[in-house]
């Protein structure tokens, strides 16, 4: 067992999959350049040394184009891992993702497959409106795509390997404050997410959520950064005698509905915490799910703690209002008792 950051765990996962399967390759901007950064957050650093520039392929600045290239390669026997420097640029490849990758298998009546992985960093890190968005829900709403969001090093490696072996397009959302990127690429305000990762091969099955803390009184659901905020809130709630359960779905599509519903039916209370804007955000589905399927077990309204409905602000004082704080979670939970 080695202790790895999420960036390191992803890198190891990619390396092992590329060693295992010659059809696996990486493509993206600035991912393999000698003397470069290994992508915007060091995940692919050094991989070109082992696998060469043909399998760690630096592309022109053409997001839509290289997404389409990855789709074409995926339909013809390869297993591309495409790197998007910032999740915000997924909008530049939206057609290729939502109209092409997601629909090819369906449109073909199940005769073609698209084993494609797309990795994209999200999260607010003082870069402002076009480099700090949280975007999962734009893709969890697209049938044909699978979506995962690892918050620990163990899950990052395990989900990445599962994604590479999956025969469908899988988006992996990674949080900039959880990478643990070092040196020049380290992030102010980063959260320590390094953890133990087995040396032997393993996967984390896509579709299985995790309970991060068991509790009886209220269910907190978070993803990526907000998992950590929820855990911290839970610890503080314990002090006032509120025993919170914290759930990290890890996979957003398919979603571990059973795990969430079981918890809500047990605790009778639900608070969903996410970094994205509230209106029509990811959290709405979780609340709607509980309201429809756990209605008779609910002792209080299921609520959301999300970002206000504004683009990610640049000013740190505003960003602090944008990203859900532990205090906002505490207030939301206490209001339910």
């Amino acid at each position: 067992m080695a202790v790895l950051t999420i960036a390191e765990a992803l890198r190891d996962g990619i390396r092992e999959e590329m060693r295992r399967d010659p059809t696996v390759f990486c493509l993206g901007e600035d991912i393999g350049v000698a003397g470069g950064w290994g992508g915007a957050f060091t995940v692919t650093l050094g991989l070109a040394d082992e696998f060469g520039h043909d399998r760690v392929l630096d592309t022109p600045i053409s997001e839509s184009g290289f997404c389409g290239v990855a789709i074409g390669a995926a339909m013809t026997g390869m297993r591309p891992i495409a790197d998007v420097q910032y999740g915000d640029f997924l909008f530049c490849m939206m057609d290729q993702l939502a109209n092409q990758a997601a629909k090819m298998t369906y449109m073909s009546g199940g005769t073609v497959k698209v084993p494609l992985v797309i990795r994209a960093p999200v999260g607010s890190t003082r870069r402002g409106a076009q480099h700090a968005q949280t975007l999962e829900v734009f893709f969890t709403h697209v049938p044909g795509l699978k979506v995962v969001a690892p918050s620990t090093a163990y899950d990052a490696k395990g989900l990445l390997k599962a994604a590479v072996r999956d025969d469908n397009p899988v988006l992996i959302f990674e949080h900039k404050l959880l990478y643990g990127s070092k040196g020049a690429r380290s992030e102010k305000g980063a959260v320590m997410s390094a953890g133990e990762v087995p040396d032997e091969d393993y996967i984390v099955p896509i579709g299985a959520g995790a309970i991060r803390r068991e509790g009886r009184d209220v269910t907190l659901v978070g993803k990526l950064l907000t998992v950590y905020r929820a855990i911290e809130a839970a610890e503080r709630l314990a002090a006032d005698g509120i025993d919170a359960e914290v759930i990290d779905p890890r996979s957003l599509v398919p979603l571990d509905r059973a795990l969430i519903l079981e918890s809500v039916r047990k605790t009778g209370r639900l608070v969903v915490v996410e970094e994205d804007n509230q209106m029509h955000g990811w959290a709405a589905e979780i609340v709607a799910l509980a309201a429809a399927e756990a209605f008779w077990w609910l002792d209080a309204p299921p609520v959301r703690v999300s970002a206000p409905d504004v683009p990610p602000p640049f000013a740190p004082v505003l960003e602090a209002e944008y990203v859900p704080s532990v205090e906002r979670i505490l207030a939301a939970v206490r209001a339910l008792f």
Partner: protein
């Protein structure tokens, strides 16, 4: 930008090309009739008038080469070898269709013969074709990949990004532009400030050539050239085929936006009679009865496709959620 000179084509080959064009023509004439009778739902983008392009290009390909088609894909699919039965069944929304009735006219394809589900988003097919070529190169195969698109698609960003990547990575891609002078109702001159598409290849250091798209021999010659270069590692090419839609853009379109003289002129240049005339003339001297025989053969093939489609079951409504994700081979 050099226009490819029509190579002398042997009679057998020219007959095959003609048969392919004839099949596309008769197949689509029947599609149109079925559509007007309400037996084909939705909309149709017919290829009538442009048959020489798909026939000429695909005659230069192997079955394991790749093709991405457009919103106007019946010709591409038939020329690449997708069975008329499977296409007709798809158009009629049957479970036996090449997309099991899930795709429809704009998405016909057949991966077993190298054709991806057609992409109906203008321009979006080109990067996918480039990806197939990258894959071929990485797998060490000598397959080539063809991206069919209309001239209008060359104003989409995806096309530009695809051209650049294919050129930078020297990939085995044929970019085949079907310049039928209109993008939907919009005239070429209205959307372009250049005289042709072939010239755009120079922005990527790629060879670009313009051929007369209604001359199936010229198209085939240009394609053979480009395919040979691509297979031998010489990289991508752009071939612009000048042609014309002898039909509406989609379903009942009267083409009121096209001048009558222009239409009349191009009707005179209809590639089917043109090719038939060549076959009848020296050096081929094919007897009319052989061409008539082809007509009957093709008519029978189309009848069979329709009968097959008619007799096929519709998808099971209970199966609406099937095939969203891969369910295994």
């Amino acid at each position: 930008m050099t226009a490819a000179a029509p190579a002398a084509t042997g009679t057998a080959v020219l007959l095959d090309l003609y048969r392919c064009m004839l099949l596309i023509r008769r197949f689509e004439e029947r599609c149109n009739a079925l559509f007007l009778q309400g037996r084909i739902p939705s909309t149709l983008h017919l290829y009538i008038g442009q048959e020489a392009v798909a026939a000429g290009v695909c005659s230069a390909l192997r079955v394991d080469d790749y093709v991405t088609g457009t919103h106007r894909p019946h010709g591409h699919a038939l020329a690449k070898g997708v069975s008329p039965r499977a296409i007709m069944a798809e158009l009629m929304a049957k479970e036996t269709g090449c997309c099991k009735g899930r795709g429809g006219s704009m998405h016909v394809g057949g991966i077993e013969v190298g054709m991806f589900p057609a992409v109906a988003i203008v321009g979006a097919g080109s990067p996918i074709a480039v990806g197939a070529a990258l894959s071929a190169k990485m797998r060490g195969s000598d397959q080539v990949s063809v991206s069919f698109f209309g001239e209008g698609a060359t104003n989409e960003g995806d096309w530009h990004e695809a051209m650049n990547m294919a050129a930078v990575w020297k990939l085995p891609v044929l970019f085949v532009c079907e310049n039928n002078l209109y993008g939907a109702s919009t005239r070429f001159e209205h959307a372009f400030s250049v005289p042709n598409i072939a010239g755009r290849a120079s922005a990527y250091g790629m060879p670009g050539s313009e051929v007369y798209g209604n001359d199936v021999e010229a198209v085939r010659a240009a394609a053979l050239d480009a395919v040979a270069r691509a297979r031998s590692g010489g990289g991508p090419s752009l071939i612009e085929c000048r042609t014309y839609r002898l039909c509406g853009h989609s379903r009942s379109d009267a083409c009121a936006y096209r001048p009558d003289e222009e239409e009349a002129d191009w009707r005179r240049r209809d590639p089917l009679p043109g090719t038939a005339a060549r076959l009848r003339a020296a050096p081929h001297d094919v007897a009319q009865h052989r061409l008539d025989a082809l007509e009957h053969e093709v008519a029978a093939e189309v009848d069979d496709a329709v009968a097959y489609a008619e007799a096929s079951p519709s998808p099971d409504p209970a199966e609406v959620a099937a095939h969203v994700y891969w369910e295994g081979d």
